[in-house]
């Protein structure tokens, strides 16, 4: 025991010599991470934590695997409310306003002191910072981020007489391609759908792709106003509804998010929209050549970003907050970001990561991995407001009502907007 303490002490002393700025004694930071216990990703995070500890012997990182994003924020906020929060957590970027309103997090700006720090904060893809900043302050640091892309089955394209290497580039092409790719059978069922855009659980996210392409944002930057009833929004929803009702190239009703990749593997859907986070899954399970493309353009191209940011807890002791900040900087260095991208399929959060040898090689071997990066120039902030989940649900309900045919797109969006207004007025 004594020997161990002694060794630790010398190691700390060594670190002190190497980096004179570190002068604190041993600090432990707890780190909520949104993945279920076990699985390959927990092993990666464990490795990162221990490598970080090797570089920073005075800091102990204790990762806690907290389940899905939803379960992680439940755990984090429950702990926050009872006064015992984790030092840092990876939570959805869209939870920013909720976390601010609960005074659960502290701005990252508080830790930015040197020019080096400032350069680091500017090193991320601007699209990812849209969901990390509001009112001039930065609240989250991008970590595992994604966008929506279109996956297509090259075999089925060939079968339908389409060029297997050319994905649809516009809304109109998307419809005509899908028409060629749809095989309807006798009783209104289809043995193969041309296109499939999932709509269970969080339809707003996929819909935001359509709305962006139709040329509108869904909310303002302050997160206290939504534009659900704009003409462009209704137009986007009408396009989605028409895919199934008018053109009959898309399943009717609500399409399950979880089964969509499987539908693709089973050749029941020739084109699907889903997250870049599915890249590895599709690569491992598709028994046919497939392509990955940016979402087709309406008036413009567009997709929301998605995924999680690092946050630092307001209630944590200052020494722990500093240590957490250090961990964040360490794990978002270009080399780590590149490695993370290769290991998981998430988009590396900073452009210079794509210049590292590891990521260069990966992109050469698997060009699809670069599609998400290239789409980032068209990306917009994911829908995020005060009382985010409630305002988002207002939109989800409207979308599902229109997709199941219980309301017209106009009516559905009018109702969603009214509900969002009711919730948001007090934040103005």
């Amino acid at each position: 025991m004594e020997r161990r303490a002694f060794l630790q002490g010398t190691a700390a002393a060594g670190a002190l010599l190497a980096a004179p700025a570190i002068a604190q004694s041993s600090t432990e930071i707890s780190f909520y991470y949104p993945v279920a216990v076990g699985g390959p990703i927990t092993k990666l995070i464990d490795t990162y934590a221990s490598e970080f500890e090797k570089d920073n012997p005075s800091i102990k990182v204790k990762p806690i695997y907290a389940g899905t994003y939803q379960e992680t924020i439940v755990k984090a906020l429950t702990a926050h409310k009872s006064g015992n929060p984790p030092t840092t957590s990876v939570l959805l970027s869209t939870d920013m306003f909720t976390l601010i309103d609960e005074e659960a997090v502290i701005p990252i700006d508080d830790f930015i002191r040197t020019d080096d720090d400032k350069a680091w904060l500017k090193s991320f893809f601007p699209a990812f910072m849209l969901n990390s900043q509001t009112a001039g302050k930065t609240w989250g640091v991008p970590f595992q981020r994604s966008t929506i892309v279109l996956y297509w089955n090259k075999d089925l394209f060939k079968e339908a007489g389409l060029d297997p290497d050319v994905p649809p580039a516009t809304w109109a092409e998307q419809v005509t391609f899908a028409q060629k790719l749809t095989k309807l059978d006798q009783s209104q069922g289809a043995s193969q759908w041309g296109i499939q855009v999932p709509s269970s659980g969080f339809p707003y996210w996929l819909f935001q792709g359509l709305a962006t392409q139709a040329g509108t944002l869904l909310m303002n930057e302050e997160g206290n106003r939504t534009f659900y009833d704009r003409a462009e929004v209704v137009e986007a929803l009408t396009y989605w509804v028409d895919l199934s009702r008018k053109h009959k190239v898309h399943p009717t009703g609500i399409v399950e998010w979880g089964t969509t990749p499987k539908d693709f593997f089973e050749k029941k859907a020739a084109m699907i929209w889903t997250t870049t986070g599915n890249l590895t899954n599709v690569r491992n399970n598709a028994k046919f050549p497939f392509g990955v493309a940016m979402l087709p353009a309406g008036k413009r191209r567009g997709s929301p970003t998605g995924g999680g940011n690092f946050y630092i807890s307001r209630k944590a002791p200052a020494a722990q907050q500093e240590a957490a900040f250090k961990f964040m900087r360490w794990i978002t260095s270009p080399e780590r970001a590149a490695q993370w991208c290769v290991d998981t399929g998430y988009v590396a959060v900073r452009p210079d990561a794509f210049d590292t040898p590891a990521l260069k090689k990966y992109v050469t071997d698997f060009p699809a991995a670069a599609v998400a990066r290239d789409q980032l120039q068209y990306a917009v902030a994911e829908l995020s407001t005060h009382e985010n989940q409630r305002v988002t649900k207002a939109l989800n309900d409207g979308l599902q009502a229109a997709l199941t045919g219980t309301k017209s797109p106009e009516q559905a969006m009018k109702d969603s907007q009214a509900e969002a207004e009711r919730i948001l007025t007090r934040y103005r």
Partner: protein, 280 residues
């Protein structure tokens, strides 16, 4: 079988018996379908999870993937400890409380009983935030007792046992006491044996509930050392990246196998022990 069931006199014969057998088998087939599907999918590669061909290759790959995805051995142990802790705590506490309610007329007994009954309708699932605060105050977060404690004093158990104890004839109680038994001995010698079927029934409810309980354990635990099986299973249940049925089915079989096999082996004893102590 020494004891014949009452319905035997009415046991169907001939065509009606055939009809009943066929109907029972059809319903059984329907009921076991998810298990059959799990068996099929767990032992075949992923591309056969929606295609049922006789010649599909057989593999154990899904099991090794599932087993390595989380420390399941430890989770098994944790669940076992948890279920044992909850059930033994429930049995002791509920027996004592039920005895007090059933056999003594004391001041405040009605209020006390009402206070117990309140828990019948209050599901601990909706009191999570408050209970988390309490556990934090007690410094018990992230431990197996923390998962167990809110469930140990079970109104359902107290209620059931009280009803049962009330049906025990007063004479038996008095006879035991005349023979010199103290209250604890009377409780153990007279009441507990007579309530055996109720203990079994209640034990079954309790074990199956806590074996499968999910939300509260997830919230209150952080580490592998305290998390139960369901939290481990959840690795595969998250659908963010699409559902992988092969691995879900392998994991489901793996975690349920002990219970399934135990039931298969002991189901006769299990059902009989329900009836052994009954109407004579």
């Amino acid at each position: 079988m020494s004891m014949r069931a009452a319905s035997e006199a009415y046991a169907p014969t001939g065509a009606s018996r055939l009809l009943e057998t066929v109907a029972a088998w059809m319903l059984a087939g329907l009921w076991i379908l998810p298990l059959l599907y799990a068996l099929w999918t767990a032992f075949h590669p992923g591309e056969y999870s929606a295609r049922f061909e006789v010649l599909a290759p057989v593999t154990l790959d899904n099991f090794s993937r599932a087993w390595s995805a989380a420390p399941f051995a430890r989770y098994f142990l944790n669940t076992f400890v948890l279920v044992t802790l909850v059930l033994s705590g429930q049995l002791v506490l509920c027996t004592l409380a039920a005895y007090a309610f059933a056999r003594s007329d004391f001041r405040g007994s009605n209020i006390a009983f009402a206070l117990v009954l309140i828990q019948l309708m209050i599901m601990p699932d909706v009191l999570i935030v408050q209970n988390y605060k309490t556990m934090n105050m007690l410094g018990m977060l992230d431990s197996i007792p923390a998962i167990a404690l809110p469930y140990v004093a079970s109104a359902f158990g107290i209620f059931l046992l009280r009803q049962t104890f009330k049906t025990v004839p007063q004479e038996l109680d008095e006879a035991a006491r005349i023979e010199g038994a103290g209250a604890v001995q009377t409780l153990l010698r007279v009441y507990v044996p007579l309530a055996k079927p109720v203990y079994l029934a209640y034990g079954l409810v309790s074990v199956s509930y806590h074996w499968n309980n999910f939300l509260w354990p997830l919230i209150v635990t952080n580490s592998v050392e305290s998390r139960p099986l369901t939290v481990g299973l959840q690795v595969f249940a998250s659908t963010d990246q699409g559902i992988d049925w092969s691995i879900i089915c392998a994991a489901t079989l793996m975690t349920s196998a002990p219970l399934l096999i135990a039931f298969l082996l002991f189901q006769r004893q299990f059902v009989q022990s329900f009836m052994r102590v009954g109407i004579r």
